[in-house]
Symmetry: C3
Subunit: 663 residues, 3 copies
């Protein structure tokens, strides 16, 4: 387990590099990521390449005993390229071009840009094919950042038609699968299916979903271009991509072409821009641990192996609404947090605050004058403390489906519906109970898990239905949540009532559903107690299933909210509403009990414990110290029973028996 | 009085139709609306028509003793047509085309689309000209839905110039009428007058108003195309159009070409998206009765005859922010409510929840698997209970002027000014007092009404002024509200102070006006008591009129707020501000007293009584039972003195003496 | 000191002019501004001029002993011109043209529009060159109103490249100055630098700042076109332009080409649309005195000489969210307020409410029927009371920098950062203490000031650094605020930590900065007391400077917030955060004490005293009377010790010793 840093030699004078790189080595840094925005420096005019600077930087990194991670620089083509080929620009839904002058504005389907990509990636990978200091590659940078997964240019229009022609036998099949009889939306041929541009009312949901799939496939195909060239040059290099947190680009879809996944973690930003509640003071200082964990577990779960944090927040950052200073200790805390969740490397973004351009207000480990900032000292401490570990062993899987995210996003039925936050309700509960969780795709094999939580498998076809049924039949414990099985894979309602093909598994049908605003009272009874729920309520009609929860308020009163069904050797619970935290905890602990999965007491917000390879981490993301109770057998590798504000403890021993002191 | 349903045979397999249609007949349904989005099914490629399916559906409907209401399918042309003729698309103000893929995106002024319309409507109406099962037609569908009354394409530009050339003798007349000396806005010829596209500051209000008139005339002209072809084929068919609720398309303007009006009523949606206040729990379950009544009374008032509800909410709906389940009983309540206000038919939208496309989350009377939903049972009950009636006899008219709506909307002078909600203040008061109201246009003859309320006749020319004066002279009682007579019909201020030509009738001038935000205190005294008002205050300078109300707060203090004037044999009251509910009640009851119109006690929100043809309805839109007091002479046709939550009672007898129990 | 009025003879029939103009003269009006929107009337078709009407109007004005101020009519070209040359239209960032039909939509860089401008301005100025009744000219009207300073058309694209070629030796210099190595933003030549159109992420801040500078230079160059032609025709005419309040167009940049500055003052609008807090009832009636004063002091400070209010609010206005009636007395109060701050003329906008077009709901001194409104009587009283005065003598300068406004606006780092309101925190404090303030540009000579406050000199190069250092060295007292010296003049961070070149002067560096939302607690200690601050906190690392304030909350606790440094014969205080009002008062009074500048007690909000030429004004912008204490020596020229609601008092004597009665 190790620490790295992102470095931009092209921002600084050659004279400085040696100092910079030696200071990295002193800090214990082992990997240096470079080059992701350097195309303009590498090829200042068409066909004229300047590699000397990059050669030297890589050489210096090697000299100091570190490895370089290089990036394909396609997120920022030079101006001359775009002036020559304005067709490479993406277009907004209304046709406005996305202009050169920031980043990630080029079209994944542009034949021109694909050929330019092959050219520059080819030259670059060839150059460093035999360089012993290059460990591997990152493809491009944050695919889809700034809402650029989808594009509406002519190249995309043509590619979409081709993609559809590959996806369906005939256009009649497409018409049937989508249900285009509605509002006269029949197509005569694949050529006539356009990207969903601005229409007075909403676009057809099946068309919108198809366009999301197509767009994600386009990114995957574009990524494959890079991966193939990289491997062609040197098949010992690793290939990864740096994904974003809480985002909608389908990481599972790209995973096959990558050796491992990596992602960019900015905790104090995420609490401001991708959680619904106003962040607390502590969250502004260190982020929300579960929000970050969820991303770690997804990156690890996608490949079933350790991941990297390719960009780790180093201090204050520029892009959220506010730029608070992280807490003292947060930069070290985040590194341990990532490692505890299965990270093999934590690469801080970036070495040094940049004087130029759009990210001047984004800190580095060192300040713009070269002096160390708090991040430098904390990264150095972390580098010193981290040690090698096997991967995380999770007995619970949480099934996450990007397609269900896209589909419910286009038909939310309430301004308060939020796929990620609904998923978080279940995920956070698992984390509060100290349970290790793999976040996996609906295609993942579930055999090896004792319990599975699937908060919103919205699109369910026969294949998925069979997989879930098989899992339960063979003894698995399954918890399903709101909006399960509402649609078929093409985004039509099933012919039968929801949950469609899962009806027999769940032993219940959805008689009716509704959404309600927060100011309306929503309660239900479950197992003798009363609980809050919110936003979504499906009224269940039990068939073979046993009613376990009943609505107590409003029109829903008297209807079943939660059903449990025994099927084969297993059991499945179907919760038709979005549970409050207490109900989620009741549902999850019942599931874990049924599955025989051990769990801890319920830890309070901001305090979390986790286990990797026989070691247990206790992390305090709050400004108040907390005191742990630990089994006598466990020894403290780092820290002690009282964990200070924003501090950590690491025990040599498993998580069982770890709790909070009771005073 | 009867019940109907909207049906889409094209969404379901042929095998199912007979079952569906027999179940309709069992429920007591008499009308089946079809075809409004079926162009793609009828003409799958240019010139190749498939009528077999529709023939069969109509035949089956006839076999089961029902009638078909067919629709011209022009709201959704097939893709091939738009690919052939992209010029048929409307354009947004900034030029962005409104694309195929939803509905109502074609330009009312496109010569191409008009000729395509004539072609398809011609073929269709000819085919069914002699079919005994077709009762009549609906033209197109919800003209203007999704903000499509106005379009900014080149065809509209040319048509606008021609429309202006028809409206004015010379361009000098236009310049004079609009007042184009302001900011050098003179035109040299009609050709140079464009649609009002994006400008840094607001467009000229006279130009904006002219464009609204032109756009509404364009819809009317386009509707006439349909109506003429339908009548040409069979002049015994009725022709109607389904208008929307609380909308700005001028229903009065289209009324001449229709046999009766109809509209689409979605109570739980309207309380969420076209009322300013957060909806209450009861409103989310059954809507606001006055909001719905206002639309009923407008549809009836426009032609002075019974109307249809062409689409009646059947259960949960997809388009408002939230999708609550309606209350048990609401679907029946709405049918009675419509009939009590003069509906001859209540057509539920739609038979069955659709598995495909944009409206999957819109309920039907039956669910997608064909099983009955609550709506089916309630519609069936309503069909059983409804009986035939003469129209509503209203002694009070409320004058509504679409042009004043458009004109004040473009110069609101306060974010809180809302034409419809200001009108509602007066209308709701009348309804709380059990008064039957015709909502009529400014051109309507007022003779037959004992009292007239005109909340905002903003644009007043000599003709309207004379009509109002004549009405009062011959003994009428008139109540005028805020912003009366501020402008002439071309949206210029009058040469004299407001209310311009109504000065002598009202006996007062507007010395000054102001708007104020809600956090500023606004009170006035009227008839010895103190009342709240809001948003708008005109300070009146009485001439012959008698001051009846005086402002008591802020800069306005001491100025006259309300004036009463006797003119001829009648009397007119002019209220210069937007009254609070209590003041509106005081003004309205004084008006009714003066006019000798009977009224009830003031019913609380959500409980309403109304009379049609000698019968009285008491409707409870709340979740609490209410107990009525009724005259001994009246017998209960339906229900009893205690009206349960979301329930009704019908009395055989007039409304006089109906009240609420006093315990 | 005198009163004027804006008049639009083209809005009224010729018969009325004599009445209007005689009534102006009766009211004591001396200047009549005309013609700023009259191009369409002057040149109804190309090359055909109609001057007769304007000749007559000017003649009548002269006959009644007044002077005309004429305007170049280029804010509203006639329709025929734009139809001939659609290229004169500006374009939005996304390319949408700004259409004819309101005003100020033409491009400052359009060669066509420049040549049309020269043509019309040439003809007009020539015509009136020898007219004895024309006193001077206003160029165009409110340059940049409705967000039109920047344009993104092709002409601007080309002009930007030329402007850059003039600003930099080589494109390599530009690349170096901007720092284009970041995200591969290097340019090969000046031609390839485009206007900053829509990009997925933000544009490069140096490019954005350059475009702001270019755009402002374009306005200045366009203004010069007018000024040169006016002076060529008659060099005794004055030339001015009417700027807007609280706006971002660089008034300093245009000042050189103008004889004096003027601006348009609408107090009840400004409190609604350019202050963050909800306006109080009193502010809705008379505005906020400091908000208006700041603009007066800027217009005076820019040229160091008296200014005009070219448009003074006459009553209710149409463009803010709400249109409250101003308080009785407000129109007179505003005139005195302007004069006390250095106005030589207060020109009311406008003579008479216009019946036509976009500003019907904007009052005039007289109503649309010609009758006097309150404004007429108050303007007349003011005209009677005003007397001649020398300019204001200010011993304190507040340095305002438009470029820092632009640059911080594009990198605010918090939704709560607001350049103007941060500046207001210091300015309002000075005004509450009765201190006369010149608002000056960073290029202004500071020698003559005893104390200088520079709230946000964000962009600091060597020149400015030297000027500030020289000022302090020679004994000046300087107070610097948040975000001082963060950037170099090209919007790069300095190589050293902030405040860059001011480090030695301030004796401190910025170790770290942060922004925080309002719900987070933020306090500091200063001089033994505890104070609130908000939004921004720089954590200072004192070098030679003495720590004077220390953060007490959050992560900042223990870090230095305020530093004081003695340098040469002077002293400088650097406050790293946005102070609350009490802290601002403590900082400012300490500064004034150090500088030996006298000040009054701290007056409450809405009550202000000011001095000009040996006279002292006490103005009451509140609805409660206030009682002054005055030195025995001072006599009341107007009013008395008790100043009524929205009333004034003028003392013959300086401000020293004026205070509020203590009961």
């Amino acid at each position: 387990m190790t620490v790295g840093v992102c470095y931009f030699p092209e921002h600084w004078s050659r004279e400085r590099w040696e100092t910079d790189i030696s200071q990295m080595a002193e800090a214990g840094i082992e990997y240096v990521r470079m080059g992701e925005f350097a195309w303009g420096r590498i090829e200042p005019e068409r066909g004229t390449f300047d590699f000397a600077w990059l050669d030297e930087a890589v050489e210096l990194i090697g000299e100091f005993g570190m490895k370089a991670v290089l990036c394909t620089p396609t997120a920022t083509p030079p101006k001359w390229l775009v002036d020559e080929h304005p067709d490479v620009r993406q277009r907004d839904r209304d046709g406005t071009p996305r202009e050169w002058g920031s980043r990630r504005f080029t079209c994944f389907n542009s034949p021109t840009y694909r050929s330019e990509t092959e050219r520059i990636v080819g030259v670059l990978t060839e150059r460093y094919a035999d360089n012993p200091h290059v460990a591997g590659w990152q493809t491009d940078n944050e695919f889809g950042c700034h809402e650029t997964v989808t594009c509406y240019c002519e190249d995309c229009g043509e590619a979409f038609s081709e993609w559809l022609a590959d996806s369906y036998e005939t256009v009649a099949d497409l018409n049937e699968a989508w249900g285009t009889a509605f509002w006269s939306q029949q197509y005569d041929d694949f050529e006539s299916v356009d990207p969903p541009k601005p229409t007075p009312a909403a676009n057809h949901p099946s068309r919108v979903l198809a366009y999301e799939r197509f767009s994600n496939d386009s990114v995957a195909e574009y990524n494959r271009l890079h991966a193939d060239l990289i491997r062609e040059a040197n098949d010992e290099w690793f290939v990864t991509h740096n994904f974003m947190g809480g985002f909608s680009l389908d990481a599972f879809r790209l995973a096959d072409d990558l050796d491992f996944l990596s992602w960019d973690s900015y905790p104090t930003g995420f609490v401001q821009d991708r959680q619904p509640d106003t962040p607390t003071a502590d969250e502004l200082r260190a982020g929300n641990p579960d929000q970050v964990s969820m991303n770690h577990d997804l990156q690890r779960g996608a490949k079933g192996k350790p991941f990297w944090v390719m960009e780790q927040q180093p201090g204050d950052i520029n892009w959220p609404p506010q730029s608070p200073q992280p807490a003292d200790g947060a930069m070290r805390l985040w590194a341990h947090h990532a490692v505890a969740h299965g990270a093999d490397a934590v690469v801080y973004f970036r070495w040094r605050r940049c004087r130029q351009g759009q990210e001047q207000y984004h800190a580095g480990l060192r300040r713009q004058d070269g002096s160390p900032d708090r991040g430098y000292r904390e990264a150095s401490t972390a580098a010193d403390e981290l040690f090698d570990l096997d991967s995380v062993d999770a007995s619970v899987a949480l099934v996450h489906d990007y397609e269900s995210l896209w589909a419910t996003r286009s038909q939310p039925l309430s301004p308060d519906w939020d796929y990620w936050n609904h998923l978080r309700t279940y995920y956070d509960t698992l984390r509060a109970r100290g349970v290790q969780v793999d976040i996996v795709s609906p295609e993942a094999s579930l055999e090896r898990y004792d319990a599975v939580v699937a908060p919103t498998l919205y699109l369910v076809g026969d294949e998925l239905s069979t997989a879930l049924t098989d899992y339960v039949d063979s003894g698995g414990s399954l918890l399903l949540g709101a909006r399960t099985g509402e649609k078929d894979p093409y985004n039509q309602l099933h012919e039968s009532l929801a949950p469609g093909p899962l009806t027999s598994l769940t032993g219940a049908r959805v008689a009716r559903h509704e959404t309600l605003p927060d100011h309306i009272e929503t309660r239900l009874s479950y197992d003798g107690a009363t609980y809050e729920f919110r936003t979504w309520a499906s009224w269940l009609a039990p068939e073979d299933g046993v009613p376990r929860g009943e609505y107590r308020t409003g029109e829903a009163a008297g209807n079943t909210a939660i059903v449990r069904n025994d099927a084969g050797n297993g059991t499945v619970t179907y919760c038709g509403c979005w549970p409050g935290d207490d109900l989620a905890d009741a549902l999850v602990t019942e599931l874990l009990d049924a599955a025989g999965v051990e769990y801890t007491e319920r830890f309070p917000d901001g305090v979390r414990v986790m286990e990797r390879d026989g070691y247990t981490w206790a992390l305090n993301f709050t400004s108040d110290p907390v005191t742990l109770t630990v089994p006598d057998s466990a020894g403290f590798l780092l820290g002690e029973a009282t964990v200070d504000a924003f501090d950590i403890a690491v025990l040599d021993g498993s998580i069982g028996g770890v709790g909070l002191g009771s005073e």
